[in-house]
């Protein structure tokens, strides 16, 4: 018999289609996994941004992944509340982002203020970076430039 934990692990391993290094567990968008009395699996996913085009792909991938383990009755729901925040991203997710060349969102305190002031360049680790554009190649990213290496890099902005 497969436990809820195993289904949760299966769902959590589904990669983000736009940043395949990241899983949905890393992103913190896997909200809930449960099995109802009749054996139906229900998975709740929360979108990062309202219009994020990756959500539909992620929902289909999660459903496919769970069905592949023999579950026939699988429902993937999109839930909006409470709204997703980058604070739910795991430490492993933050590490993977940096290795992927994207500066991870900075940690925030309980009052939502950013604790760590500098966004460090994922290429050369210099803290001397400035924002070029608040909007980047996906809704969750901003574009920054680094005074250390002169390169530009994406920043997964705090949200």
């Amino acid at each position: 018999m497969t436990s809820v934990d195993e289904i949760r692990r299966l769902a959590g391993e589904v990669p983000d289609p736009e940043m395949p290094a990241m899983t949905i567990e890393d992103l913190g968008i896997l909200r809930d996994v449960r099995v109802d009395a009749s054996g139906g699996v229900v998975v709740d996913i929360t979108p990062t941004y309202s219009g994020c085009p990756a959500v539909e792909v992620i929902c289909a991938d999660v459903e496919r992944s769970i069905r592949a383990r023999g579950f026939r009755d699988v429902t993937v729901r999109v839930v909006l509340s409470p709204a997703w925040t980058t604070d739910w991203m795991t430490d492993q997710g933050r590490r993977k982002l940096r290795e992927y060349g994207i500066a991870p969102p900075r940690a925030r305190g309980a009052d939502m203020h950013v604790v760590e002031l500098a966004v460090t360049c994922p290429i050369c680790d210099s803290p001397h970076t400035t924002e070029v554009s608040h909007f980047g190649s996906t809704q969750c990213q901003a574009v920054r430039t680094c005074a250390g290496c002169g390169d530009t890099f994406p920043h997964f902005k705090e949200h």
């Binding site: 309202s50 219009g51 085009p53 997703w84 554009s133 608040h134 909007f135 809704q139």
Partner: protein, 254 residues
């Protein structure tokens, strides 16, 4: 009685949804034409946020009006007279200054509105608002930054911003219109009271215009009618373009 309340709530969510969709499409028309690559990306990112907000609101509207219509039904299969967006969002892009002024005027309202709707008695609308609030904060920041830069910029940019303000300002009165629908949703706790929204909107817009050395236009022309399906000329052309593919190839999917 319950039916009346449900109807007003459905019309109210539809109005906000249409505002989001139409503004989204206008911004998307900048794709590959914006003055800089960064702003091409910014405007289309904002368009995508607004599209997502519209989709969530159409889904809620379908539950409230009981028709079970899909998001596509609302977006692609209604005619001009069935759209209940305000006139401001449908105004043509014009030059970059016009788009920025429109965006400042719209996103300032939307931000105040989402803030108020986070405590809506409709739990689903409150959830949509809480999510959208964070996104719209970026939209207003973007429009505010550009207004300051262009208003207090060169003679040319200042002149263009003044012209844009003169063109768009008359359409702002409609944003705070009160009618049976707004009164009903305020009473039921579903919707936001336009009057406090106007005060908040005024405060931000006035502060930004002052700092940008721009003067608030005066004038008595107050066009309205969008909430009743009466639109300006450019809107029909925009809809024709937006709906063409879906209507020419019914049921088409990616």
């Amino acid at each position: 009685m319950t039916l009346v309340v449900a109807d007003a709530a459905a019309v109210y969510t539809l109005r906000i949804a249409d505002d989001c969709l139409v503004l989204s499409h206008r911004l998307a028309q900048w794709s590959s034409y914006a003055p800089t690559l960064e702003d091409d990306i910014a405007l289309t990112n904002i368009a995508l946020d607004l599209l997502g907000q519209a989709r969530a609101l159409y889904a809620r509207t379908a539950e409230l009006d009981g028709t079970g219509r899909s998001e596509d039904d609302y977006a692609f299969l209604r005619d001009e007279r069935e759209f209940v967006n305000c006139l401001l969002v449908e105004q043509e892009n014009g030059d970059f200054a016009t788009t920025i002024v429109r965006q400042l005027l719209c996103s300032t309202l939307q931000l105040a509105q989402w803030q108020a709707l986070t405590s809506s008695s409709d739990a689903q609308l409150a959830a949509i608002a809480a999510k959208a609030l964070k996104e719209t904060t970026y939209h207003r920041d973007h429009a505010t930054d550009w207004t300051l830069r262009l208003g207090d910029g060169t003679d040319e940019s200042h002149r263009r911003m003044e012209a844009a303000l003169a063109t768009l300002w008359p359409y702002t009165h409609e944003l705070f219109e009160n009618d049976d629908v707004t009164r009903d949703v305020v009473d039921s706790g579903v919707g936001a009271d336009p009057e406090p929204l106007r005060i908040e909107w005024d405060a931000h817009v006035s502060r930004v215009l002052d700092e940008a050395t721009l003067v608030r236009p005066d004038g008595t022309w107050q066009p309205a009618g969008g909430r009743r399906g009466l639109h300006t000329e450019g809107f029909g052309y925009m809809l024709a373009e937006m709906q063409h593919l879906h209507r020419s190839y019914p049921g088409v999917t990616w």
